[in-house]
């Protein structure tokens, strides 16, 4: 399943029924891999029983319809920038490395993130970053591989190729 970041902006309960609970929820939605594509949408959901369901970080959008009444689009990856679960795990680990190294929990990395997007990502910090990535994933990079990296997307690909290779 494609991972989404769901940030409730407001919940408006509608009419509770005997066996169903309908609510309209406004959400900020963004693919984890592309946080810059975050947009606000409104969805209306009818769930079987309010007492047995609660909002959680893991939300299934099965059966959920957008505010206009259309089914929510398929969450299966269709674009090269949408990656299978293993790469999401790689990105998640890289996210942790970035936050630890640059001492900033607010850093959100995406495939397009480059040196200009992260304060302090200079040529020297690049070396420290790559050594940390080596340690985190148990891989070893060559000088050429380190030099050629432009953005996080290339780093993900490189790590994945080393781990799977």
């Amino acid at each position: 399943m494609h991972l989404l970041v769901l940030r409730p902006k407001g919940i408006a309960p509608l009419e509770p029924e005997a066996s169903h609970f309908t609510s309209r929820v406004q959400l900020d939605v963004a693919p984890v891999m592309q946080p810059r594509l975050r947009q606000s949408i409104e969805i209306q959901s009818t769930v079987p029983s309010p007492s047995q369901r609660s909002m959680s970080s893991a939300i299934s959008l099965e059966g959920v319809r957008t505010a206009s009444g259309k089914p929510y689009p398929s969450l299966e990856p269709k674009h090269p920038n949408c990656y299978p679960r293993t790469v999401n795990a790689t990105m998640q680990k890289l996210q942790e490395v970035f936050c630890d190294l640059f001492e900033d929990d607010d850093i959100v990395v995406s495939r397009n993130t480059g040196a200009a997007d992260v304060d302090g990502w200079d040529s020297l910090m690049h070396v420290t970053l790559m050594l940390e990535v080596e340690r985190a994933f148990g891989v070893r990079f060559s000088s050429g591989e380190v030099a050629d990296l432009v953005d996080v997307g290339q780093l993900v690909d490189l790590v994945e190729s080393k781990v799977s290779g």
Binding site: G114, A115, S123, L124, S143, A147
Partner: protein, 302 residues
């Protein structure tokens, strides 16, 4: 926009991880930085094919990345990657394309690295200022040729002979001299830097040998050659890298005193030393990369 601004703009756009340290280099001594960087850009433009700024900037970016990565590996492994000249010759010096880009990287590291700007200012103030009366200069392993040419440009009437084991280096130095309009005051020859004691003794008023020691298995021979070549009142400028990993660095110096003792052991008197290091280093580093300069003359001690 002048050449230097074009270079900075190109680096900012194409190599954004580098621009911070390059701006820092400019701030060390803005006048020196702009004057010498412009000079090197002008000379190199007469040598490279196509867009000179792109070639030298890309070469420097590659060089800088390789050096930083080697330093990172050094921190992890605790020793330089290569131990012998033969290893480096096969993997590096014998690769023509690699060497050409490498030479531009080395050349522009002299102006684009902050602590090398400090070193460059020191070289002009403390060494070139000593050269007078149309001196005969010998440059050991000129590589790209810039150090010797800067000396010629700075010291009226001076002449220079350069000896380098690399044909690529000799060709580059000759081309740089031509572009600088200094061909008539220079001659370059392919010759092993360790074979210079076959040259006539006491034939130079000055010797320049920049960042060669750490590339050699027996760096003491550079001081011996310097002692052999210098006239009694001659003076030499010799630099070396300490705890500075690079793919072609094989001799590890850890203390400044090691170079002083080595110079003295080969019959040189050390007149001045200075050591420069980057303002920032790798996080939690145990090694501190430094660039050391020695100004030496022949010792009268027997």
């Amino acid at each position: 926009m002048d050449r230097v601004d074009q270079l900075l703009s190109y680096i900012e756009e194409k190599h954004p991880r580098l621009i911070g340290s390059v701006r820092e280099a400019e701030q060390v001594d803005p006048i020196w930085f702009r004057r010498v960087t412009n000079q090197l850009l002008e000379w190199s433009a007469g040598v490279v094919d196509g867009d000179g700024i792109q070639v030298v900037a890309d070469g420097y970016a590659q060089f800088n990345s390789d050096v930083n990565w080697a330093q990172g590996r050094y921190e992890v492994d605790g020793e330089y990657e290569n131990k012998s000249y033969a290893e480096v010759y096969e993997s590096h010096y014998n690769q023509k394309e690699t060497m050409e880009a490498y030479l531009w990287g080395v050349c522009f590291a002299n102006v684009l690295r902050p602590h090398h700007v400090e070193l460059g200012v020191h070289w002009e103030m403390r060494f070139l200022s000593r050269l007078q009366n149309e001196p005969e200069i010998i440059e050991i392993a000129p590589g790209h040729g810039a150090w010797g040419l800067l000396a010629l440009d700075h010291v009226p009437g001076s002449r220079l002979r350069g000896f380098d084991i690399s044909e690529t280096s000799v060709a580059t130095s000759r081309a740089m001299a031509h572009a600088a309009g200094l061909s008539d005051r220079t001659s370059y020859e392919v010759r092993d830097a360790l074979d210079l004691e076959r040259l006539a003794p006491q034939s130079a008023d000055a010797v320049i040998c920049s960042f060669v020691l750490e590339h050699l298995e027996q760096p003491e021979k550079i001081f011996a050659a310097t002692r052999h070549l210098l006239r009694p009142d001659g003076v030499a400028f010799i630099t070396g890298g300490l705890e500075s990993a690079q793919v072609d660095h094989i001799y590890e110096f850890h203390r400044e005193s090691e170079l002083v003792v080595m110079a003295e052991s080969q019959g040189c008197r050390v007149l001045e030393t200075a050591s420069f290091h980057p303002s920032r280093n790798l996080r939690n580093a145990r090694f501190l990369p430094r660039s050391m300069t020695l100004i030496v003359c022949p010792s009268n001690e027997t």
